[in-house]
């Protein structure tokens, strides 16, 4: 976070803040201006900009007439909301019990080795983010993963190699 902020000039921040304010104004049209619009609005902002920038918080708070602390509290409570950009591709490996029963731990170990990333990290070239997910609801055919928006079941080391090869090529 601090690296991103330090790289920006104050003028750059102002441009971003204007973009965000415009996006929030549009989203109020769709979701209304009450507090219950907060999650749909954050999802939409993350969809558009890739993450929830701290600079969005004041705009959202003011649009919904709630405090900045309320918005910050929600952004940091829910694991889906990222405060930094993710890599271009997202690999999410399931870590829950049913996948564990089918060998997910070994797959996770191989994935972290092949990508050179720990769970939750993004590769330095911004290509891949590796994340854990707790259950995709495909519990009879694990180990499972979501590669961007595509679910993949019965992952074995060979499948994993092929998937990683496609993503990092």
């Amino acid at each position: 976070m601090s690296a991103t902020r330090n790289d920006r000039s104050i003028a750059g921040d102002a441009t971003h803040a204007n973009d965000y304010a415009a996006a929030v104004a549009r989203l109020v049209e769709d979701f209304g201006d009450e507090q219950n619009a907060l999650l749909p609005m954050l999802h939409a902002l993350q969809e558009e900009f890739g993450y929830i920038d701290d600079l969005m918080v004041p705009a959202v708070a003011s649009a919904l007439n709630i405090s900045r602390a309320d918005v910050h509290g929600v952004v940091t409570f829910y694991p889906d909301f990222r405060r930094q950009p993710a890599g271009r591709h997202r690999v999410r490996l399931c870590r829950a019990e049913s996948c564990q029963a089918r060998g997910a731990a070994a797959i996770e170990r191989i994935a972290t080795e092949r990508l050179g990333l720990r769970m939750g990290e993004t590769s330095p070239n911004g290509r891949v983010t590796l994340d854990a997910v707790y259950c995709l609801g495909l519990c009879a055919t694990g180990p499972n993963a979501m590669i961007d928006d595509v679910p993949v079941s019965r992952i074995d080391p060979a499948t994993l190699d092929r998937l990683i090869e496609e993503l990092t090529r």
Partner: protein, 518 residues
């Protein structure tokens, strides 16, 4: 043109169903995308329409499209619904799933759709509530609270605005019935919610779906748009979760819809009195609401006619983990755990012996095969120190280490705790540390506080394994009775059941309860 049916259920797609559908389409077939029948070993499953009915083939690779269309594919299954896995089921809730095009209103109506809603609308609201009471339906999310009583409370609550909320935040590992129903028969859930709206006097409903279910979100939104005029003036909206497991707890789910952190509320007041936006609210699981159309169209007595003890009707059981015939098996209560795991599930997929099954998700107990004669029933499971929960059964073979699974239960609780109550927030972290010490065989010496002169009851020297286990049991007791909701309150189930049934994995030769008494 030959008509063929291919599932677009997320599990089938994860096994390659999209490529199979494309290949069939390219080979000139008329492809209809359905939900899943629910036996994932067969996916991607293709059913070909013939004069003798639908003939199934599965699993099918995309290169085999031509073989399926000329009928020579070796994985020919014949009539899929006649296979033992399906013929033994009693599909009340999942009757249409895997059979119809999920988004076709014509298909839904042709297969008995909207009959429950029509019947309900012909009744006074109180009579509709009475039908649900007569069915004996209990909350399918896990708690097993009688649905009819909940509806009655909301029906009787004063006020012009009430809500119906569907809990589709199916975060438990080993469960996927909510997802399958929303993807395979979304109108069924919509019908159930519209009936609930009529029965209690609510005109607005929310379906809270976890973000990990993108297919279900898409299908439900499209189905709501298509059915809007049929359920009007009842209005429905999908709300999407954001990765927090605790939002499956009903009060934190309500806070999440309201745009807040998903923190658990203290009860009372019950959501039925003061729920969403402070209004009387019916909050039910997907499977509870989806059971309602059958109850209204066939009568509460028809639903209650099967079952066991105080558990009436059917339960869509989900066989998951290391199991050969993994999938969805809807059956009346009373079937034994062993029948489900061994006869129907076919034992482990790895071919190794079953060591443990976890029933009811991350908060459910681990059971060994020695108690497989346990009947599937809310009360029987509670008496055995476990719970049915959302009826997911996760099977493990003999390579699993139960001390590791007990640790994972504590770790998961620490990861997902909303932080509102101390036993869950701090107890789970202390639990991880305790189990780590047990696994490593470390003997923790007394710390500075424990050595203070006024700490007369503290253990002076390094704790023995038995003393550590006593401490772990004490911690579980505090979490069980001191936590605000089921996350902290039920995490002790997997931990204690692992300790009780698999003491050898914790490094104890004798059952651990007696070791602790030394």
């Amino acid at each position: 043109m030959t008509r063929v049916y291919v599932s677009k259920d997320m599990a089938a797609v994860a096994l390659g169903a999209d490529a199979v559908a494309e290949a069939l389409s390219a080979a000139g077939a008329d492809v209809v995308r359905t939900g899943s029948r629910g036996l994932f070993r067969l996916e991607p499953l293709v059913e070909v329409e013939t004069p003798e009915g639908r003939i199934g083939f599965g699993p099918v690779a995309s290169a085999d499209a031509a073989l399926v269309l000329d009928g020579s594919h070796p994985a020919r299954l014949g009539d899929v619904s006649a296979m033992p896995f399906f013929a033994r089921q009693q599909r009340f809730t999942f009757a249409r799933c895997g059979v119809i095009d999920p988004l076709s209103l014509d298909d839904y109506e042709a297969h008995g759709g909207w009959r429950g809603l029509t019947a309900a609308r012909a009744l006074a609201p109180q009579a509709a509530v009475d039908a649900v009471k007569a069915s004996g339906l209990r909350g399918r999310g896990g708690a097993g609270f009688p649905t009819g009583i909940k509806w009655q409370t909301v029906h009787d609550a004063p006020g012009p605005i009430k809500y119906i909320v569907c809990n589709a935040d199916e975060g438990d590992s080993g469960t996927f019935a909510d997802r399958m129903l929303m993807e395979g028969d979304p109108f069924c859930l919509i019908e159930g919610m519209a009936i609930a709206g009529h029965a209690v006097g609510a005109e607005r409903g929310y379906i809270y779906i976890r973000s990990e279910y993108p297919f279900a979100i898409r299908t439900m939104r499209e189905a709501i748009a298509r059915a809007a005029s049929i359920v009007a003036p009842f209005v429905l909206e999908v709300r999407v979760g954001a990765g927090a497991y605790v939002c499956g707890e009903e009060t934190s789910l309500l806070d999440s819809i309201e745009g807040k952190r998903g923190e658990v509320r203290a009860k009372p007041p019950l959501p039925a009195i003061s729920g969403l936006f402070g209004r009387p609210t019916v909050i039910n699981n997907v499977l509870s609401l989806a059971a309602v159309p059958f109850i209204l169209s066939e009568g509460g007595e028809a639903y209650a006619a099967i079952g066991f003890g105080r558990s009436r009707g059917t339960m869509p059981v989900q066989l998951a983990g290391n199991v050969r015939n993994g999938g969805l098996f809807e059956v009346g209560f009373g079937i034994t755990l062993g029948e489900l795991v061994m006869d129907i599930g076919g034992g482990t997929d790895s071919g190794r012996p079953v060591k443990a099954v976890q029933v009811g998700g991350p908060l459910g107990a681990y059971f060994p095969p020695s108690i497989f004669d346990l009947p599937f029933d809310y009360e029987a499971f509670a008496a055995a120190g476990g719970l049915i929960g959302h009826a997911g059964i996760t099977v493990f073979d003999d390579t699993v280490d139960m001390a590791h699974m007990a640790r994972f239960a504590m770790e998961f609780c620490a990861h997902e705790s909303c932080g509102k109550c101390t036993p869950c927030r701090i107890g789970s972290t202390r639990g991880v540390e305790l189990i780590d010490r047990l696994i490593a065989g470390e003997r923790r010496a007394a710390d500075a506080v424990e050595r203070l002169p006024q700490m007369r009851n503290a253990v002076g020297g390094p704790r023995q394994a038995g003393q550590e286990i006593e401490l772990l049991r004490d911690l579980c007791d505090t979490m069980k009775f001191g936590s605000l909701c089921a996350l902290g309150g039920f995490t002790p189930y997997p931990v204690l059941s692992a300790l009780d049934h698999f003491p050898q994995d914790f490094g104890a030769a004798a059952p651990i309860s007696s070791a602790a008494a030394e």
